[in-house]
Structures are given as C-alpha cells and as structure tokens.
Point group: D4
C-alpha cells in the first residue's frame, strides 16, 4: 500500500497544479525544503500515478473536429473485459467506471474527422462483446478547464 | 484571429503531452530548432490557451471522496447566464457546452466529503436561476487518463 | 381544395421519382398521353407542392462535417411560433411536426464545421422563446436513400 | 478514391438543387463552361452518388396515411446485418447509421394504411435477428423541405 | 354515499358482463329473484355509474385509421383544469388520472384520418394551458378485449 | 373477407353505443327497416367481432383495489408467443400491440388486492419467456368513459 | 396463516412506534390489559415479523460516507435468484420487489467509503447473473424519518 | 457541533440495532461500563437524532394496501419550500434529498386504500407550488429489512 500524502507532498502538488514547469529549485524555495527532497518526492508522486505533469490541450484548437463524451453500457458481468478493450482505443483518452442514472463506463473521445469518428463507434466500440448501448454527447465549446484543485489535505 | 498551428507547434505540443517537464533545450534538440524558437512558441501556445502545462492528478488519490460528472439542464434562453455562474464554482473544474441526448452543460466535480457535495448541489447549483435539472454520475474508478493525443496535424 | 391525383398524375410522378431528368416527350410516350398533357400536369404537381424535382445530395460527400437530426421540444402553446422561427434557419432543411415518444418538432440539419454547428444550437435554436429541450442525433453514414415510392394510388 | 469536388461541380450542383429540370445548355451558359463539360460532370456526380435528380414528393399528399421516423436499436455486434435487412424493406426509403442519445439506425417510413404499417413493424422489422427496440415517431405535418443547401465549398 | 354492492347486484353484473342483451326475466330466473327486483337494481347500477350497458366496438373495424393511447403531462397545479378540457374532446373516449413512471392523465383516442388526428394533437390538446408534454402510442392490433371481470365480491 | 359496413350497420351500431338494451323493435322503428333486418344484422356484427354488447363497469366501484395499465416490452422476435401467453391471464382484460415511444404490448389490468397484483406481476408476467421489461401505471380515478363513437362512416 | 391483528395488537404497536423502550407494565396500564397479555402479544408480533424493535439510525451521523438507493433491473425470469443473492450483501439493508416506471428490485445501501462502495457495485452486484442494469441515487440529506404510522386498523 | 462518536457510543448502538428492548443493565454488563454511563449516552444519542428506538413494522402486514416510493422533482430554486410542505404530510414517513439520475426529493409512502392514495397524490403533492413531476414505484413485497449496520467506527 502507498504511503499517505503528507504536507510536503500536498504543497508540491499545489504548486505544480498551477504551473507544471516551475523548477525544482523554485519549489524547494517556496516550501522551504531541499531541492533533493522536491526531486525525490516528485519522482514518487509521478511513479505512484498521483500526478502526471503534461501539456493539457484544447482539442478543438488542435484541429480535432469531433470531441465529446461517451456513456457506454455493458452487460454487468462483462464490464471488466469491455473496459480492457476500451483502454486499447487511442481516441478514448479518459475512461472511468461510473454509477448514477446508469452504471457503466464513461469515456472522453477525440476524432480528427467524421470518418475517424464513424470508425470509432461502428468498427471499434460496437464490436466489443458485451457492449449493449452507446450514448454520445458532443462538446460544442469548452467553458472552463482548471487543474489547480489542491488536495483534500494531508492524511 | 489566431495563427494556425504549424509543424513546429505540433511537434512541441506532442513532446510536452508526453512529459510536461522536458526542458526547452531538449525540445529544441529533438525537433531541430533553436531554444529561442521553442521558448517563444511555448509562450504563445500557453497565452492563446492552446495548451496548459500542469500537474494533472487523480482526485481520489488526493483524498477527494466524491468525484464525478454533472449533466445540467437549463432553460435554453438562460444557458449563458447559467454557464457564467457555474464557472464561479471552485468544485467544478471542467465545464463544457454539449449536445446529444440532451443539450446543456456538462461539468466534472470534486468534493472533499458529503457536506461539501451536499452544499455544491443544494446550495450552489440548485439556486442558479434557469437551472431545470441536474443529473449526477459518480466516478467509481479511473481506468485511463492520457493527454498525449498529438494534434490533428498542422493546418 | 386541390383536385385528387388521377392515374396520369400517378404515372408521371412514378417516372420522375426514378429519373428527374426524363424529358416530357419521353414521359408522354411511355404513358400514352400528349406532351401538352404532361407539361400541364407537371406544372400543376409542382405548383401544388405535390412534388419538387431537384438534385438530392449526400451532404457528407458535399463536404458538410456535421449532419444529423434534431428533436426539439417546445411549450405546447408556443409550438407554432417556434416552428415559424425554425423555418427561417438555413441549416435546417427538413422540418416536421411529430408525435410519438415526444410531441414536437423534428428537423434535419447540416453544418460545415463545429463553429457553424455551435452557432446553430447555441445562438439560433436555444434563443427561440418556447424551446424547452433539444436532442441531437449525428448521422454517421447514409445507408439508403430512395425517392421512388410511387403513390398510394389514384384517389 | 473519388476526386474531390471542384468549383464547376459545386456550381452545377447548386443550380440543380434549385431546379432539377434545368437543361444542360442553360447550366453551361450560367456557369460559363461547355455543354459537354456539364454533361460529363453531371454523369460523374450521379454515378458517384454525390447527387440524385428526382421528384421528391410529399407522401401525405400522395395518399400515404402513416408517415414517420423509426429509431431502431440493435445489439451492437449485429448492427451491420440488421442494416442489410432493413435496406431490403420498401417502406423504408431513408436509412442512416446514427449516434447521440442512442447509437443505432434511424429510418423514414411510409405506409398506405394501418395494415401495411402493422405488417412493417410486426412482420418485418420485429423479426430481424438482433433488433432490440423500435421507437416510432409519426409525422403530423411537413413544415419545410428544401434541398438547395449548396455545398461546403470546393475542396 | 352509495350503498355497497350485495350478492344480487354482483350476480346481475356478472350476467350482463357476459351478455348485455339478456332479458330481465332471464336474469330473474337465473338468480332466483323477481323481475321487479332485477329492474330496480339495474336502474340503480346504471344511475350510480357502476355499469354502462353498451355496444363496445373495435374502432379499427369501424373504419378509424388512427387509434391509440396518449400520455399527457401537465403542470401539477393545473391538472384538474387540464382534465376538464380534455373531457370536452370527442376523440378522447377514455380518460384516467394515473401515477407510475409519470403522474398525469392517460387517454384513449380515435381519429378517422391523419387530418383529424393532426387537429386533435396540434389544435386541441397542445393549446390547453398547463399541458407540458404529450406522448402518443399507436394501436397496431387488438389482441384481447373482455369485460366479464365479475366483481371483487359483495362488500 | 368481411363485407364492409353499410349505412344500416352504422345506424344500428350508433344506437347500441348509446344504449345496449334498446329493443330490436325500437331500433327497427328508428332507422326504418324491418325487425328481421335488425336481428340478422346484429347477429352478424356480433359474430364478426365488430361489436360486443356488454355491461362495462367501473372496476374501482366493483371493489378492485389495484387497476391500471401495463407497458410490456419483449424481445422483438418473441412478441407473438408473449402475446399468446398474456391473453391467458384473467386479470388482463384489454391487450393491444402498440408502437410509439416503445413497440410492444400494452394491457389493462385489475386486481382484487396486493396479493393478487403481486402474483400477476411476479408469478405470471415476469415468468413469460421473452418479456424484457414491465412498466406499471396505476389508475387513480376514472374521468371519462364513453363508447358512443359512431363509426368512421359507411365504406 | 397468521391471525389478523386485533385492537390490542394495534394499540401495542402504536405505542412502540412512538417509543420502543416503553416498558411492558406501562403499555399494560395505558391500554388496560394485563402485563402478561402485553408480553405474549409482543412476542407474537416480533416472531411473525409484524414489527422489529430496534435502534434506527441516521447512517450519515454514524460515519457512513455514501448512503443511498439502488434501482436494480434483472431479466424477469431471473428475478428471484437475483433477489436471493442481493439479500446476502451486508451493505444492502432494505430490499423490496417493486413495480412502476420499472419492475425490479429497489435497495437501500450504506458504504463506509468509496472503496467499499466501488466493491459493492463492481464486485458484488454487477457479478450477479441476471442483473441487467443498476441505477444509483445518492442521499444528500435526511429530511424526515418517522415510524409511528399506527396501523390500518384492526381487521 | 456534536461530539464525535467514541467506542462506547458505537458499542451501545450496535447492541440496540440488534434488539431495541435490551435493558440498560444488560448493555452495561456486555460492554463493561456503568449503567449510569449507558443511560446518559443513550439519552444523548437519542436527543442528537443519532438513533431512534422504535417498533419498525411491515406496513403490508399492518393492513396498508398501497406502499411504495415517490420520486418528486421540483424547480431547483423551490426545493426547500417543497421539502418543508412534504414533511407535513403524514403518509410520507421517510423523506430524503437525493441526486443521481435525477436531483430532487425521494419519499416513502403508505396509504390505507386507493382513496387515501388518490388524495395523497392529487390533492396534496400535486398542489405544492414548485413540484414539477412525481414518479411512483409500488412495493410488491419486502425482501429484507435489517437495521444492525453497526457504525462506520469511532471517529
């Protein structure tokens, strides 16, 4: 089991949520620890998949024509196999197991054009054994995207 | 209007989608341009909100208890005012205008505990004039989160 | 009130449903009436909006990126005013009053790109007083388009 | 692969979308090309199923009593076989693969009377292996039917 | 308040549910009471709207083209006024207040043709203040119609 | 095939829709035909299941506690076998094949008490092979029940 | 079969619905019977599962983070086996067979944290053969909980 | 703010969840504290609405004919006033604010007969200003009712 986050972890995360390119030296100075501590903590946070530091982009501005959200229902006993196959699909970049009005798998997709989108739905997702229903919601516009949530506090 | 992305922009974006902490020098070397070019391009990409370079985290691992997706319906003539007020709410970190099975606003939320979630739904969102319906989907588990889409190619 | 269709009308319509560019002379010969009769009947059929003779096209092949079907709900007492305003929108080329799982207005749309589609939904349809709900279905592929129904027979 | 549409193709299509019976000579004169060019372009546009030139009719005025839209759901892995069988049914004149609130097949139908409609639903569509759900929307009235979309512009 | 049904009432009702034209004398003989008793009981059962004795017909066989079921939703505070206006519409012959997946008013309709049906939906029901939604289910075929329920027994 | 209804049939039906106990002599007098004609027509109308003359009752006043409407979905390929089994169930007195928001079977039910209703749903309908979904709507109150539709006119 | 409740049973129940810790002596005094009668009646009421006398608690105040309602659909022919397996799950404390907008099984759940809830949905309920759909409704706040219904009166 | 529950509170609650009539002396003995401690803790637990000790009954066995669950939607801005009025209705004994497939108010109801149920829906709930929709689910059978959850552990 992973060690719970402490105050130093939380402070490092908060700074990087604001600016992913802040240097280790600058982080060390702001939170009053050594640069080596920052470096080792950062490595651990990334290795344990607590955080990723990446360029997050607006896919519409990158030229993707069809961007949106899929709500995928599956036979409840097949949901893990369906999830495994969905993870292999490049156009699906964000996949979560969900419950609420339906219990299933939600995914975010991007497609360069209608041909790619058509193939995604009809040739990839529809052909996965156990999928029973696919609901598509198109993104018309991005209104807010912030990643500086902070943390729910040190354990 | 913004200048369309060219090959250099696209290559810089792709490298940063893989690793947000790669240095400008390393980018310059890999795509065979000067470090000054990388720096100025990067500034423009960030300023124009094409990309953000940030720590993207798994909110469940950061200690948030309730994480998920809201589908918010509003009176069609009030949708912009509703969107403006939703943008002010800290627990909503990703907001998009959408169409599909319903036309409205989808949002991702995080809450530290049931009290914070309760307040989000009953005291914030329900009180916005023009909201007609809120549907909540809880995240049970994160199955995939990748940001290295590349781009849909230089214009 | 319009005169009911007779056998000659029905035969002319059937031939034109197969080939809209068949000449009046050819029609006259095939159904054994004079060319003048064909001409006058054809004028009347078009004037009374029984038929239109036009190039019907596959919008995806013409370069439209987003093509599909809208299901628009409106306050029942406002449905005629809503219909009148929808008719003014160029991107909606086919509009019908419908009943079934919902009672409202169904429309077919075409859009050149996401900007035009976004404007159609958010700036045009959503702003019509009385619209309560819009549901979008995207066309992935055309599987059949035939207009040679014949008629339900002379009255 | 098909050659993309050029300016001449687009202008021919636009004229024929307004009036399907305009003569080749008249088209040639209006867009300043030879009649031979019009003829060969027109043949190609029709052969490649870019356009059909036909009489498009109001089925209610032709005496069809029941006219409307079907939303057909199928087991995702059977959707192509279902589509193939639906294409064989004369009363379905327009069939598309769709996604949105549901992913499946939408079709437009016409029926002369309740007996024909009854047979269409119960004896044809319901008996196709893989169909899971059929939703019927009746057309009460045609409010707009225009085919002069133009094109999304030469490639 | 009405007197509860006794054994004699129940036996009279059961016989008439089987055959509405059985004579009073025959009823009297079968249940062993005087003809005068049958007559007075029958009058009371009809006057108190416990039963109607009528020809119940298959509307499709009587030539009605469109026959079916409407599910009408109304603003909850207006439901009585809506019901009062629906009762005035000749094409609605059976109207009940209901609850379940929706709470509202269900009605059975008959229409001679599409024009009459169109007027029923668009010109009558849609114009009633307080109606929010109308859902139509068409009858394709009658599979069973029996009225000989008997009674739930004398009180 | 049955002979279409003529003017005499229609007049007889209309009188009996108002009062199922009007005597043949009275009908004969009112529509100016012989009593023998009335008798033979009436026999034929009943034998051909055009009409039934019966006591139609308000089941709530007869002591039935749970009265309402079922919407039964079935696998499309099993719908006829499902219908055959539903017809055997006494508590279902009115069964129709339907299409609209769903395509399936609608039925009216009556039950003396919760035990009988429970058995109807859980022990009878749920156990029919091919049934996929049952939706129940309870009747709260009868607002109108009229059977004097007349006919859609002689053929 | 159980003996129907009499007046004494009903009075005992009413008192205990208000206060489950009222002594037998106090009950006896208030309803004017002997303490032995109270004791024997109470034993019978509990043994026949007419009542349970227990501490009913607010699970949110007891520290459960996720509390709510599940609507579970199952293949109609498997519903009893599904119910039997659901009864074995500790987190489901209230399970009923239901009908209405859907016919299936409704259950109340409690979970200490997201891990336990995740396991409940994905590892327990989803793996029961015959379950087709799970819908989750979260409790945000308890607004009323009263158990002093009295009874519907002695039989 | 309330003091968090400690180990003694949790042990007292667990014993009373099993048997609400266990004596204070018996509790004291089992968890090894004084009877006075049990008494004062119990008073506090009840006063703070952590627990109620009551007879919980099976309403069907108590003679209630109609028992079930209501899902009540309201205009989001009126939800508190709606909740306040619902709390006044005796037939609603359990009311919670909820979110999921819909956000609103869920309530459990009991009614002695159809008249009382009819009045509950049509004369009480439907007349509350702000209610937009009521969905009723009937209970057919109780399959499990346990209150011995324990607690989520001392804080």
């Amino acid at each position: 089991m992973e060690k719970p986050l402490d105050r130093v972890d939380c402070e490092i995360i908060s700074l990087l949520q604001e600016d992913g390119r802040i240097s280790n030296i600058e982080i060390a100075k702001q939170i009053n620890v050594s640069e080596g501590t920052v470096r080792s903590r950062l490595n651990r946070l990334i290795k344990n998949e607590i955080i990723q530091i990446v360029a997050v982009s607006n896919p519409i501005k990158l030229g993707f024509t069809l961007v949106g959200h899929l709500r995928i229902s599956a036979e409840p006993t097949h949901i893990e196999q369906v999830a495994a196959q969905l993870r292999e699909i490049d156009q699906l970049w964000f996949i979560v197991a969900t419950t609420g009005g339906h219990t299933g798998i939600d995914a975010e997709f991007i497609a360069k054009d209608l041909d790619e989108f058509n193939a995604l739905i009809l040739s990839r997702i529809n052909r996965i054994q156990g999928v029973t229903r696919v609901e598509t919601t198109l993104t018309l516009d991005f209104l807010k995207r912030r990643y500086d949530w902070g943390t729910a506090g040190p354990a």
